[in-house]
């Protein structure tokens, strides 16, 4: 049991934190997000060159620093605290996680590009008629000689408008709801310069990020576009999605730390009826409940992060536990931060309004609370819980007379 960061990890945290404090302000970042560019490329470059967070968790053989889950957590939390919109999780956690597992020279080249800040990756998986995060895929890739022919429509492809590469999940065998039979393809991508057989609709999201709907009409891909083994994308997706989920949980912790601190500060300062509103017991207890949700969230993010290396079921259960916890907390803290700020909390004048939107969006990302509740239930042994690793519960004989 150890909840302290190593010296290097602490150093990483303070590097990221002080960079963001100095260089990442809310106003300009919103302006950039809402501009036609949609982000701040110079910030991304600084992430790579000045504070090295794009390489921090990548393997050493592609120019990375070999950091692990804790490093990802530290970075994501700090990015959350500053409400960074640039595509860290989709590129560095999810994208790189898939590429790393897929292996091969093409993947390796992209990983090197990620480490140096040149490449950004978006994963195209959800479809208009599929249950979100359910791996329900109708988009197909069929073999035609040496090539693959890709056909189908993807929706809400996060960060696609900024991406240099797409990772597309397509069905190469099996029925639409079959968890097997999926394959992963790597495509060059530039939303501003598209081939005729790819149609992209880009849009802003409610939290000032960007996404796109993408239609593939018989797009021909070379054989080497296939990453990993055909029909087995699930074995890449499962762990990489769990890593991404753990990372957004950490990001949510950062978001909540900020809005909670702002709320308590506001309650001490804002006066009504001749006293600070923070002196009213009903509001005090509400803020205590927010504090409790935050402390639970921190623990849940640890749980997910520190179980990423466990066996698949333990890993998935811990990640689902975390996402359920964080989603609930994000809603409770977000909504109450707004309520306690009163009307001002509903405007874009204060940080809380912007953070609230991200806290709303994050609840739905990588599976909403119900998705993860059901997954957790399915993974829990019906009779008695299996050991959740060394520190988990060991069920004794529970039968009684």
């Amino acid at each position: 049991m150890d909840f302290t960061l190593s010296a290097e990890q602490s150093e990483l945290r303070s590097t990221v934190s002080s960079f963001l404090r100095k260089r990442y302000e809310l106003e300009p970042s919103r302006s950039a997000a809402r501009s036609s560019i949609g982000w701040q490329p110079e910030i991304w470059q600084a992430f790579a060159e000045e504070i090295g967070i794009l390489a921090a968790t990548l393997p050493e053989e592609v120019g990375g620093d070999g950091g692990g889950a804790v490093e990802t957590m530290v970075i994501a939390e700090e990015l959350g605290r500053a409400l960074v919109v640039e595509p860290f999780v989709s590129t560095v956690v999810l994208g790189a996680g898939l590429l790393r597992r897929a292996g091969g020279s093409k993947a390796r080249a992209v990983l090197e590009g990620i480490a140096s800040g040149r490449e950004r990756v978006a994963l195209a998986i959800d479809e208009p008629d599929s249950y979100p995060s359910g791996y329900e895929v109708a988009t197909s890739a069929t073999r035609a000689g040496d090539e693959w022919v890709l056909t189908g429509t993807k929706t809400m492809v996060g960060d696609a408008p900024l991406a240099t590469r797409l990772l597309v999940v397509a069905r190469t065998s099996g029925e639409r709801r079959d968890p097997a039979g999926l394959s992963l393809f790597l495509l060059d991508f530039d939303a501003s310069d598209l081939p005729a057989d790819v149609k992209v609709h880009s849009y802003r999201t409610i939290d000032d990020r960007w996404a796109a709907d993408i239609e593939f009409r018989d797009v021909r891909l070379p054989a080497e576009a296939l990453l990993g083994e055909a029909d087995h994308a699930g074995s890449l997706l499962d762990p990489a999605m769990d890593e991404a989920t753990a990372a957004v949980c950490a990001e949510a912790v950062g978001l909540m730390r900020k809005v909670f601190a702002d709320t308590v500060a506001y309650a001490k300062e804002r006066r009504q009826f001749g006293q600070p509103i923070g002196s009213f017991q009903a509001l005090q207890h509400r803020m205590v409940d927010m504090h409790i949700e935050l402390e639970r969230s921190v623990s849940a993010a640890y749980l997910a992060t520190l179980r990423l290396g466990d066996a698949p079921d333990q890993r998935a259960r811990a990640v689902s536990a975390a996402k359920v916890t964080l989603s609930r907390a994000a809603k409770f803290i977000g909504e109450n931060a707004v309520q306690l700020h009163g009307g001002m909390g509903m405007t874009q004048e204060l940080a809380v309004g912007h953070f609230f939107k991200r806290l709303t969006a994050i609840q739905a990302e990588y599976g909403d609370a119900d998705f993860h509740r059901v997954r957790y239930a399915r993974l829990s042994d019906h009779r008695s819980r299996a050991a959740t690793g060394e520190a988990g519960v060991r069920s004794g004989a529970v039968a009684v007379g």
Partner: protein, 409 residues
């Protein structure tokens, strides 16, 4: 005891239905259905007001001599309920439902003659100047300075949360004419011409991106004393009288039931974990819970209506209903957002009909919408509806009122 309408009420309801069927154009219904907050598309709303005015139904709550309908409490409820169910746009409450009642009760003959007909036609469109940056829940602490200067009051300060200040040509406001030991005293209720020199409207951008609320700055604005309603220094009396019209006046259950119907219909066509989302037991039960809360709210409203019909004072019922319906409404927006799925995260105000301009948004040139319009409404409605528990006396304040007035604590 029964839950039936009387035959006369049924007849009235049919009359209303027929009228709505004949007069609600698809465009007007669209404004009702794609609204993202309690503020509906301004143009559609004013168009509908004009149609109602021609039928004599724009201001049913006014005394008959001023153009009201002389309806019973049931008839008001039925009219409001049927309009909502049919998808009619909501009218702005500021003029017809609020300041007009103050003018009728406390106004001079000149004031009545000038304002009432113009409010009906929309020639005069009001906004409300109550809250100030430092006076929210504690409204009576308001500080907008109004100095007596001959025939005028000269006002300096600012008002906030001024809905539709950009569209309005008049404001009704509370200003501070005298400072005394009791903060409720020394307040004056005035009507302000928005074209008066010294007024500056600064829109507030909400999290939804919509600019419906504003901050209005007053710099030495001259308000003729003939535009005072009631007595100088006695504006709190007028404001308290109006408060009754603001809280729990109209039925909320109908609107919420329609929203739940829409969610159900949408969920029948959205993918769930195992077939349509509507067949997912977890989703179905959440929907059932909200519908049940709506059914119960409807009966609460009928009970309140029955009390009003007997000429009784609603008492604390308006606080109770405000808490119940705003919290239920918020929970419904949460379920709608959940039903919307990933498309609910797309920011697409161009697919909706918001109550005002949208800041910093350029619709795509091809008008593309990811998913359907209701999915675009969902997040904006969720954001805007957070106001429900904050405005018109936050729910914390309503609970304080109930604790004191209802429970004697």
């Amino acid at each position: 005891m029964d839950l039936q309408y009387s035959p006369a009420d049924e007849e009235f309801r049919d009359e209303v239905r027929t009228f709505l069927e004949e007069n609600l154009t698809p465009e007007l219904r669209r404004a009702g259905r794609l609204a993202t907050s309690v503020y509906h598309d301004h143009e559609a709303s004013m168009k509908w007001q004009e149609i109602l005015r021609r039928r004599g139904w724009a201001a049913p709550g006014w005394p008959v001599e001023h153009g009201g309908c002389g309806w019973t409490a049931s008839q008001h409820y039925i009219f409001s309920r049927e309009s909502t169910i049919a998808g009619a746009p909501a009218l702005s409450p500021m003029g017809i439902k609020m300041v007009a009642h103050a003018i009728i009760k406390f106004g001079t003959e000149e004031q009545k003659e000038y304002f009432l007909p113009r409010i009906l036609t929309g020639e005069v469109f009001f906004c409300q100047g109550y809250s100030e940056p430092e006076s929210g829940s504690d409204l009576a602490s308001l500080a907008m300075q109004a100095v007596d200067d001959g025939d005028d009051l000269v006002c300096t300060g600012s008002k906030i949360w001024t809905t539709h200040a950009g569209e309005a040509n008049w404001m009704f406001a509370l200003v501070r004419t005298t400072r005394g030991p009791k903060k409720q005293q020394g307040i004056t209720f005035v009507l302000v011409d928005m074209k008066s020199p010294g007024i500056e409207v600064q829109p507030l951008v909400m999290t939804s991106g919509e600019q419906i609320q504003n901050q209005v700055f007053f710099d030495q604005v001259r308000i003729p004393k003939k535009n005072v309603i009631g007595q100088i220094d006695d504006g709190w009396t007028v404001a308290k009288y109006l408060l009754e019209f603001e809280r729990g006046g109209s039925p909320a259950s109908a609107k919420l039931q329609v929203q739940l119907d829409e969610i159900a219909q949408a969920a029948a066509n959205r993918p769930g974990p195992n077939g349509p989302l509507l067949d997912d037991p977890l989703f179905a039960v959440k929907l059932a819970d909200l519908r049940i809360r709506c059914d119960v709210l409807e009966v609460l409203e009928y009970r309140n209506l029955a009390r009003l019909s007997e000429g009784k004072n609603p008492g604390t019922a308006s606080s109770l209903l405000k808490i119940i319906n705003t919290e239920l409404s918020q929970d419904i927006t949460v379920l709608a957002l959940e039903a919307a799925g990933p498309q609910g995260l797309a920011y697409q105000p161009h697919a909706t009909m918001p109550g005002g301009p949208v800041h910093d948004h350029s619709p795509p040139q091809d008008g593309y919408v990811s998913g359907e319009a209701w999915q675009a409404v969902a997040p904006l409605h969720y954001f805007n509806d957070r106001a429900g528990t904050i405005y018109a006396g936050s729910n914390e304040i309503q609970r304080n009122i109930l604790a004191k007035a209802e429970l004697g604590l």
